[in-house]
Symmetry: C2
């Protein structure tokens, strides 16, 4: 029976706990969140399970780590290395393995080599591992492409697109993707950092290059507004023709002046209104050509929840240190860890 | 620099050697084949490379293993565990890791638990690993399906189909798949074992069940003739309407009386003449649904060649013993092992 601590009890973290409670061989030993509305409550009550779990939500990770000694901690608190670095450090120093949803943790070596080295050393010192994963980065626009290169003797060019629908998401996502802005507001938002688009292309492209042994000249990224031609609306926002329905982000991995890896990720509300099929698409050209489509796309939120829980055995069995998806056996669904 | 020995120099083995010669960090130290036409010749001459390689084809694996001490041996000699078992034993006992193309080696534990145990023990004793891989089994109808379950919290049913075109293949494949027979001859061929269809469903389904933690009641397989409605012909065979254009093989992994895994593999010449699209298809139903198509299909021969060479680093770095694709980090193309 492996002991699991959940840090962060928002949409992602509470989804992971629900999934964990239905799996065998794992025991939820604690939940950490800083929301005063949740602290002191039983997880069963918060999730409306109809029964107590005996796990009381706490805001003191150090205390729970010391008392419960979890084998692994699932961390779902932020997107950026700077945010989660101190949290991961605390977790590793308590002797717990860690899986983080932070997009930048999917392959932190590129943007944060020093912090990555530090986490790697701390993890090794305490005999544990730390992984960043999710659906994107972590799966669709990196791991899945890499797996497909396994049947290739030579790769000349690889391209992937993830076309998704932002309609189910709330106000924060609308704002960070610029949905409902005018084109001018969108440009201003990119400049002042209030519109960020997708986080993860740097990590996905760097991870793929590392696995394939490509020496990148640079990773280039562009973000442009998706200007709506139609009236679109979701629960939280209305977009009129001429306004911004979302952000189209593209990333390029350039080797010897040539684009070898290209990623395209248009995120918007209601793409079907303009006859755009949502889906995950991969094309590889080389001695073997790949032309893959998965329609509709893998859901980002639920997929990330599942991926974090599914990689628990891989991280428990990994060599100590900072690891990435390319270092571990393939992720699969599992139902019993014993 | 890692030393590689190639055993078996047919279509698969010679393809692997060509690929290896273009990769960095690996050195071809020997080639074994029993064909008297090849023995004593330089690999460069046989492959018409326009230059000598210094590697002379030999029929004495024991001698080459002892003299050259390869780090890893690629074995492309047969499909069945009974055939390759003594060869793998010799390779492991010489202290070489081994990758086998034998379909039954993809997950030998199911049909040959005793022999698997023996290989595992020999490999461990000599500190080396042995893997069976390829495109099918080894990738499309097992590993790729499993990878897709990584984003699933719950899997109710998984299905995959591999629809391919046998037209490029030679007389042996035509015969073992029953192409060009009458329906009566096909039935008789199945009975007397001259028509075998696809080898690998037992292994693929057992490997998936092991990874997912499913307890199978049984693995059921069916083979039926694909009766042509049209005139079809390939280089080696002509099929008239009413005759057999190929073999449709299906496999079922049954858990608690219910089919949880279903594989469909219709192999025939010229499926496009009856408007059948070749491709690899995966559907998974669960909390996340997968609906994937890769069109056209990954080529079986070239894909297997590439997969065997691409898994070299994974096998070199694996824990000693008999391993399967589910035990190793994801396969990817690589260009330099150093």
């Amino acid at each position: 029976m492996k002991k699991v601590l959940q840090c962060g009890f928002g949409a992602m973290g509470s989804g992971m706990v629900k999934l964990l409670l239905g799996r065998k061989g794992v025991e939820l030993v604690g939940v950490i969140d800083r929301n005063p509305q949740l602290i002191g409550k039983d997880v069963g009550d918060v999730l409306e399970l109809g029964h107590k779990t005996g796990v009381i939500i706490s805001d003191d990770p150090q205390k729970v780590l010391t008392e419960k000694k979890p084998d692994i901690t699932l961390l779902a608190t932020g997107s950026f290395v700077d945010e989660v670095f101190p949290q991961i450090k605390t977790i590793l120093e308590a002797g717990s393995n860690c899986i983080s949803t932070a997009e930048e943790m999917a392959y932190p070596w590129r943007l944060y080599p020093e912090k990555s080295k530090e986490l790697d050393e701390i993890a090794k010192k305490h005999g544990v591992s730390v992984l960043g994963t999710g659906v994107n980065p972590g799966f669709v626009l990196d791991l899945l492409m890499l797996v497909m290169t396994g049947v290739c003797g030579k790769v000349d060019y690889m391209w992937a697109a993830r076309v998704n629908d932002l309609s189910p998401f709330g106000p924060t996502v609308m704002q960070t993707q610029g949905v409902g802005t005018t084109p001018e507001q969108f440009e201003a938002g990119l400049k002042d950092g209030s519109i960020v688009g997708h986080i993860g292309f740097q990590q996905s492209i760097a991870m793929m290059a590392a696995a394939l042994g490509l020496e990148l000249d640079e990773i280039r990224e562009t973000r442009e507004p998706i200007i709506s031609k139609t009236h679109r609306e979701s629960k939280y926002i209305t977009v009129e023709p001429g306004m911004v329905a979302g952000c189209r982000q593209r990333g390029y991995g350039i080797v010897n002046g040539k684009t070898v890896i290209e990623l395209d990720h248009p995120q918007q509300i209601n793409p079907s209104l303009e006859n755009v099929d949502t889906g995950d698409y991969i094309k590889i050209t080389g001695d073997v050509c790949i032309n893959m489509a998965n329609k509709p796309e893998i859901p980002g939120g639920l997929g990330t929840i599942n991926m974090c829980v599914n990689t628990i055995p891989q991280v428990l069995n990994a060599k100590p240190g900072l690891v990435s998806m390319i270092d571990l056996p393939i992720p699969t669904m599992w139902s019993n860890l014993d």
